[in-house]
């Protein structure tokens, strides 16, 4: 069977599986729709959380980013895993004990205020839509490269699938499809990684391979060889970063705290039976996530080494097949600046910006680009970092079924995250805005219908963003984490650990953190991108890491304001006492 048929087969079979699971696990009540009935086994929930959490960015982009950032890529590795320690220790068990459906539920109840609830809903919707646009783009990339359909069609198919299982199944359907999606995506990620690691080092376990010697007889370790090769070509050392220490520190912290404050992650811990299960479940989630996250740096390093080995100083006419495949998809370009027909990979950009292709081909057969060449760099090859993982099986000459598997894995990663995000958007609309704020007399059936309609509307908006990605999508991914870190996390944390924190303090803190972080990112990313250099940054902190300062401001303002205003009422202090102990409310007084 040829590769293309295999891809259709794998992707088709995985889609059929997801829909089958969705039909089997339809939600019948709001409790099933919002939190899967609250009876999910902690290990199963951990697996679903891992799929929910690992998005198209984790699956497709992260290894590529690390390949090019080297040590600086550590911010993603530590940042996107360390947050689970905060979740397990500081938030999840208490929120589970609280026992409601959504994050704004907690904030609205704990701070006895509809305003606080609405502020939380606004943070949540903003965070989730920013995030979901990226997922739809991921779906589009995979479809256009692997299935030869155009991006619009790809996004519509993706929307259709998510519609079936998110709208019908709610959290219950999503949980069990995410378990299937985790299995697909982790298998798809690990198989090429084993092959690559074995090919380069002779050790099939990537985590060990990255610390082993290259099996080319040189006796050099992988990282040593990578450092040598890169410095030869004018790049910096792989194990040495270029970001300042304070920036690395702040980005890592913002990603960690942001992870712990992301509503679609938090809400997963509402689905387990008990508070102690929430802790256990966060541990399992991190194990499942760590499998991919400790493999990614190895994949990144191997891919970088392999790419330079196969492309640098190779004449274009002898370029490998995958090079030309991805060139056809606009993600690779070769501009023969010195006219020798041989590809030189060096540091620096080959030309200005992303490639715009002209009609026709150059003397060696390469697609011509119209971009202005960058004169002071000898680099001639443009490479979109996103393709590192997708092209790996082809670069490593792996069989067709591995390529098909990676296509199905990329889609699983994007769809599982999109579904989780859609669910928190729809439940915040139907539950927090309608049921709890504007239309308290709505019936159970009416609320369930509203949740399904809201999910449908959110899918349409997300699909629109995927088909017509606004230029700012890639620019504002930092928003999601920075805003979650600066707004939701401090409010939830203080709601559990401080009995003195009141509604005035919490609202003032959330608004300050949100406004500051939003303003800083907006200024440097959208209003005045030219000024986005280290010299202009506050304390040398880039917009990616500024959520940390927003978080500190949130805490400071909240504590100051709460000291000047009345203590929360006695019922609220009782509520805090009750969420701090795992034993159920009904049992607490039975002697």
């Amino acid at each position: 069977m040829d590769t293309q048929t295999l891809i259709y087969l794998f992707v088709g079979a995985s889609f059929a599986l997801y829909i089958g699971i969705a039909l089997w696990s339809r939600a019948g009540s709001t409790k099933e729709f919002y939190v899967a009935g609250g009876g999910v086994n902690p290990v199963v929930n951990g697996m679903a959380t891992a799929a929910d959490w690992m998005s198209a960015a984790s699956f497709i982009s992260m290894a590529g980013l690390i390949a090019f950032l080297g040590y600086d890529g550590s911010v993603y590795l530590m940042g996107w895993t360390g947050g689970y320690v905060m979740l397990a220790l500081l938030l999840a068990p208490y929120l589970r004990k609280f026992g409601q459906f959504t994050v704004p539920d907690f904030i609205g109840t704990r701070y006895y205020s509809k305003t606080a609830r609405v502020v939380a809903v606004i943070c949540l919707i903003f965070i989730s839509f920013t995030y979901i646009a990226g997922q739809m783009r991921g779906v589009g990339i995979v479809f256009s490269r692997f299935l030869d359909v155009d991006i619009t069609m790809g996004v519509i198919i993706g929307m259709g699938i998510v519609f079936v299982y998110a709208v019908l199944g709610g959290m219950k359907g999503i949980t069990y499809t995410q378990v299937a999606q985790y299995c697909v995506l982790i298998f798809a990620y690990m198989v090429p990684a084993f092959f690559l690691s074995f090919m380069i080092t002779g050790n099939p376990i990537p985590q060990f391979g990255l610390g082993s010697q290259v099996n080319d007889g040189s006796g050099l370790y992988v990282l040593q060889k990578l450092n040598l090769v890169l410095t030869d070509l004018g790049f910096g050392e792989y194990t040495d970063g270029s970001k300042s220490m304070i920036d690395v520190f702040c980005i890592t912290l913002a990603l960690m705290v942001g992870t712990a404050g992301l509503p679609h992650v938090i809400v997963r811990f509402f689905t387990v039976p008990k508070a102690s299960d929430a802790r256990k479940s966060a541990g399992w989630a991190l194990i499942f996530i760590a499998l991919l996250y400790t493999t990614a740096p190895a994949v990144g390093a191997f891919a970088r080494l392999n790419f330079i080995d196969t492309v640098n100083e190779t004449s274009y006419s002898e370029a490998p097949g995958w090079f030309k495949n991805w060139e056809r998809n606009d993600l690779i370009a070769f501009q023969d600046k010195n006219g020798d027909g041989v590809m030189q990979v060096r540091s620096g950009d080959a030309f200005e910006g992303a490639p715009t292709f002209a009609e026709g081909t150059g003397p060696s057969g390469e697609r011509l680009v119209t971009n202005a060449p960058v004169a002071d760099s000898e680099n001639e090859v443009y490479l979109d970092r996103d393709i590192m993982v997708l092209a790996n099986p082809e670069i490593g000459n792996l069989p067709g079924w591995v390529i098909a598997l990676v296509a199905a894995g990329g889609l699983a990663a994007a769809l599982s995250t999109a579904a989780g995000l859609l669910l928190v958007i729809s439940s915040s609309v139907s539950h927090d805005l309608l049921k709890s704020t504007f239309k308290p007399d709505i019936s159970e059936k009416g609320e369930l219908l509203a949740a399904r309609l809201a999910a449908t509307a959110a899918i349409v908006v997300a699909g629109y963003l995927g088909i017509y990605p606004p230029g700012w999508v890639a620019q504002v991914v930092a928003f999601a984490f920075g805003l979650a870190a600066a707004s939701l996390f401090p409010a939830i944390f203080m709601g559990i650990f401080s009995k003195r924190m009141n509604k005035e303090g919490a609202i003032a803190g959330m608004v300050t953190g949100l406004a500051f972080t939003f303003g800083y990112i907006f200024y440097f990313k959208l209003a005045n991108p030219a000024a986005n250099v280290a010299d202009n940054w506050l304390f040398g902190i880039s917009p990616e890491g500024i959520g940390v300062v927003g978080m500190v401001l949130n805490f400071a303002v909240a504590i100051a304001v709460s000291k000047m205003t009345a203590s929360p009422p006695v019922e609220i202090r009782k509520l805090v006492d009750s969420i701090r102990v795992p034993r159920g409310a009904g049992d607490a007084h039975a002697h």
Partner: protein, 92 residues
């Protein structure tokens, strides 16, 4: 919490449980900070002079080690809390 009287008080067991929990949290979060922000970022350059296999040690903490330690921290907390909850008879 429906049968409460007007005055609100936590039981002694609940208070002691919470203090023990907070003490444990502070210890574990200190380790969390030390392995990631400490070994992986602040002292990375110093640690890079040592090697663990082919990894410079600071680099290893940043891209591998801290993640393994995170997992260990969560499961240690799970086990420890289970014991605390039994001790104070507050388990769920």
């Amino acid at each position: 919490m429906s049968d409460d009287t007007d005055t609100h008080q936590t039981s002694e067991a609940e208070g002691a449980y919470w203090r023990d929990n907070v003490r444990l949290l502070v210890t574990l979060m200190a380790i969390w900070f030390a392995c990631s922000f400490g070994a992986g970022i602040l002292f990375r350059e110093f640690l890079d002079q040592f090697m663990i296999g082919g990894y410079p040690l600071g680099f290893w903490f940043a891209q591998q080690g801290s993640i393994y330690i995170f997992i260990a921290l969560i499961f240690y907390y799970v086990v420890k809390m289970r014991k605390l909850e039994r001790k104070y008879d507050l388990d769920d």
